[in-house]
Amino acid sequence: MDPIISISALSKTYASGFSALKTVDLDIRRGEIFALLGPNGAGKTTLISIVCGLVNASAGSVRVDGHDIVRDYRAARALVGLVPQELTTDAFETVWNTVSFTRGLFGKPPDPAYIEQLLKDLSLWAKKDARLMMLSGGMKRRVLIAKALSHEPRILFLDEPTAGVDVELRRDMWQLVRRLRDSGVTVILTTHYIEEAEEMADRIGVIAKGALILVEDKAVLMTKLGGKQLTLQLAAPLAEVPPALARYGLVLGKGGKTLVYRYEVGRGEGGEGGEGSDPAGDGAIAGLLQDLAAAGIMFTDLHTTQRSLEEIFVSLVSEREAPGTDERGNRAGPAGEGAR
């Protein structure tokens, strides 16, 4: 199936000379939830803004459902809803009016029944006549979502939708996203809460310093990079790993007090086998423990950890940043608060 959004060789250099996007190519599949991950200043908002028509691209092109966003902007934009990162609302407007306004803006005839259902779905119905300045931040966020959905878009951009949002609203929001996906809406979100991408997304793209460094199915990404590791606290420090244990590829920790063993668990999708079937997997742990005992190495404690997306992400980004020039513009304001 052809992609619903096709970004090719897109780059952006701001008037300040800062290069925020460097030749980005990306296809978004119809009906998927795509998570865009990246540290502050990576270029996520810039990318979304170009697709939505808020920022002029310096080079490259974007097609939304086959429509070029510049030449055929009407058709392209009518398909897209955007929830911006910042909470920007008209203070004096009522919830009902502002949501109806957006629907009109996107060229749709009024449909009070649809707006009513939308506001109910977002728990805003009781506030429909309240002025926006009297709403809490979380409610304003819901209003922005309602506005973005007011014209029944086929594509929804959520730019850090859960920054500064409490647990309950976040859960509501993810339920909404799933419902939207089930109804065929493509969702592209950015978030700093990596576990959310892990939980929600079908595919994940990692962006750092304006370059897309990885795009992968989440499941593949997790298995490809998500090995486990076993850490042993040693009773007595070791100077080196005994040759008898060489085949395990053990790594000695600082001061020789810990031993780390990395291994892959069976990849569930492979079929019957499950965990035990991986020769390098759990089966090997029993062998390792026996061999350790045989070599006279005692340990006081042990634990296993799974590399989370967060770690994968951090390692990917830090590889990128190795040369270490901090040219990320230090922007003030709420942008940075989502970071953890």
């Binding site: 028509g53 808020l54 897209v80 004096f92 957006t102 996107f106 060229g107």
Partner: protein, 253 residues
């Protein structure tokens, strides 16, 4: 055409006026009444008729122009500046609306307000001075053309301004002096020859003159010239506004 969008923006802008009804209508009406009391009655009584019209009646077209220009500029500039300032403009920019539709709705709303206000002031004037309008259709035409042209100027100003000071300074430093010096309160024929020539470089002279002609049939400059100048402003402002929207000047980084 995305008429739903034009309607939505237009009504939004009109609703904004309703919220500030008092300051947007009452203030100009009071100021104008004061002008009539001071210039029309107190001072005007000592000024002879100008071109066969009493001074009080003579200043009516100028006063209306003064209000029309300032209101057009300030309504339109604020209308587009505010969403830019509060960043809610992201919605307009991401919507499937053309540049023409954006201009039509914002400028249309600002011009509507300015025209309504001018008509209110015209009605107020009838309480103070005897009025006659010789060419009512031309009067309406000048009113509309000027309102649209200067709402466009306000729109341009609102996009250009990046802070509130600039937004208020331009009307204060440019529009108001030009209007006062543009023959709102006198005929430029009353000026010494040198100043008269200087006045001809003031665009407002043509607007006021043409407008006054539609009332009393006499003008400082030929009415055809006034009309041509008004249309010229319109064309220039349309050009600048189009360029701004096309390039995203101060709207899209």
């Amino acid at each position: 055409m995305n008429w739903h969008a034009v309607r939505a923006i237009y009504l939004f802008e009109m609703a904004r006026t309703k919220r500030t009804l008092l300051q947007s209508v009452l203030a100009p009406v009071i100021t104008t009444s004061l002008y009539f009391v001071v210039f029309g009655s107190a001072i005007g009584a000592r000024i002879p008729e100008i071109e066969g019209v009493s001074y009080g009646a003579f200043i009516v077209p100028g006063l209306i122009m003064l209000n029309l220009l300032t209101q057009s500029v300030s309504n339109a500039s604020f209308g587009i500046f505010f969403p830019k300032f509060s960043r809610t403009i992201y919605e307009i920019l991401s919507a499937p609306v053309s540049h023409f539709e954006i201009v039509l709705s914002y400028v249309g709303a600002a011009a509507t307000k300015a025209v309504i206000l001018s008509l209110i002031i015209l009605a107020t004037a009838t309480f103070f001075v005897p009025l006659r309008i010789e060419h009512p259709l031309w009067m309406i035409a000048f009113l509309l053309l000027t309102a649209v042209s200067f709402s466009l100027l306000g729109f341009i100003l609102g996009i250009w301004a990046d802070n509130f000071e600039k937004l208020q300074l331009v009307p204060l430093l440019i529009i108001t002096p030009l209007t006062f010096l543009g023959g709102s309160f006198y005929s430029i024929d009353m000026l010494p020859a040198g100043w008269r020539t200087v006045s001809l470089f003031n665009p407002v002279v043509y607007l006021v003159s043409g407008f006054r002609w539609s009332f009393y049939g006499s003008a400082d400059v030929a009415v055809g010239v006034s009309l041509a100048m008004t249309l010229l402003f319109l064309a220039v402002f349309v050009g600048v506004a189009t360029w701004m929207l096309r390039t995203g000047y101060r709207l899209k980084p």
